[in-house]
């Protein structure tokens, strides 16, 4: 059978790859994709801990459901912002969006 450690290592790797995407990518949409990967890694962790340590209790499921809702909300608002920015500035490269820089 699969030990808990495998899931945790897998989720940590996925989280780190997503974090790298968030930090290293230029395109705002690609940064959002990195965030999605990180959220998925979190969900794997939550479900793995639920399965191995807290199985019959539904607290883990509730957490996962709320992470899913937050991910959906974050994507909707994030993409709306990106499209709105693109309309005004004709770019989605985050380096060029430095209007607020002092």
């Amino acid at each position: 059978m699969i030990p808990l450690s495998w899931y945790l290592i897998f989720a940590a790797a996925l989280f780190c790859i997503g974090l790298f995407g968030v930090m290293a990518r230029k395109n705002a949409v690609a940064i959002l994709m990195g965030v999605e990967l990180m959220l998925n890694a979190v969900n794997i962790n939550l479900l793995a801990f639920w399965r191995y340590l807290y199985a019959p209790d539904f607290a883990g499921w509730t957490f996962v459901a709320i992470v899913l809702v937050a991910a959906a909300a974050e994507t909707a608002v994030g993409l709306a912002l990106i499209i709105s920015v693109y309309r005004r500035r004709s770019t989605v490269v985050v380096d060029d969006l430095s209007l607020m820089k002092g």
Partner: protein, 173 residues
């Protein structure tokens, strides 16, 4: 190694490879397609954790909604479908080193934890009963408040996204 372990390793390898491609491929559209594969891999790993409900929800929410939304956004935010120039920041190796360090630290900390090698006990029958989960979500003594907060968050996101993305007259031009 049992069949299940081999299957898990294959799924994890595919998912991680797809995730690496998401953050490293030059064409942003291909990144979106790789993201779909990565999300599928996560859905399969949910199924391996015996939470079929979340495996299906993952496909519905992430692939049916979020991935398609991202593809729409990719296509709406460009005039030509060519990605010219580097897609990574100049100093991309700094986050690479940082992330590698973080990963090593995470695995190191986790491996000192006593419950790291826990084996799964057999799943009790009640844990796969969806109606119990539904009742727990609307039970005031259980998770009614987080459930309501989540619905308010969704409503706020809905209104906010429409407001931000709507093409109001007189703002531009």
């Amino acid at each position: 190694m049992t069949i299940q372990q081999v299957f898990f390793l294959a799924v994890a390898a595919i998912t991680l490879f797809a995730a690496v491609m998401v953050v490293s491929t030059r064409r942003i559209m291909h990144a979106a397609l790789w993201l779909i594969l990565a999300l599928f891999g996560v859905a399969v790993s949910f199924a391996l954790l015996e939470t079929g409900f979340f495996a299906v929800v993952q496909v519905v929410v992430y692939i049916g909604a979020i991935a398609i939304l991202i593809i729409f956004a990719v296509m709406l935010t460009r005039q030509v479908f060519l990605d010219v120039g580097p897609q990574l920041n100049r100093g991309w190796w700094i986050p690479a080193v940082l992330v590698a360090g973080l990963y090593a630290a995470l695995v190191g900390v986790l491996s000192t934890w006593s419950g790291f090698q826990t084996q799964a006990a057999a799943l009790p029958e009640a844990a796969s009963d969806l109606s119990q989960f539904g009742l727990a979500l609307v039970d005031v003594n259980a998770y009614a408040v987080p459930f309501e907060v989540a619905s308010v968050l969704l409503l706020g996101a809905l209104v906010g996204a429409i407001f931000v993305a709507s093409d109001r007259k007189g703002v531009e031009r």
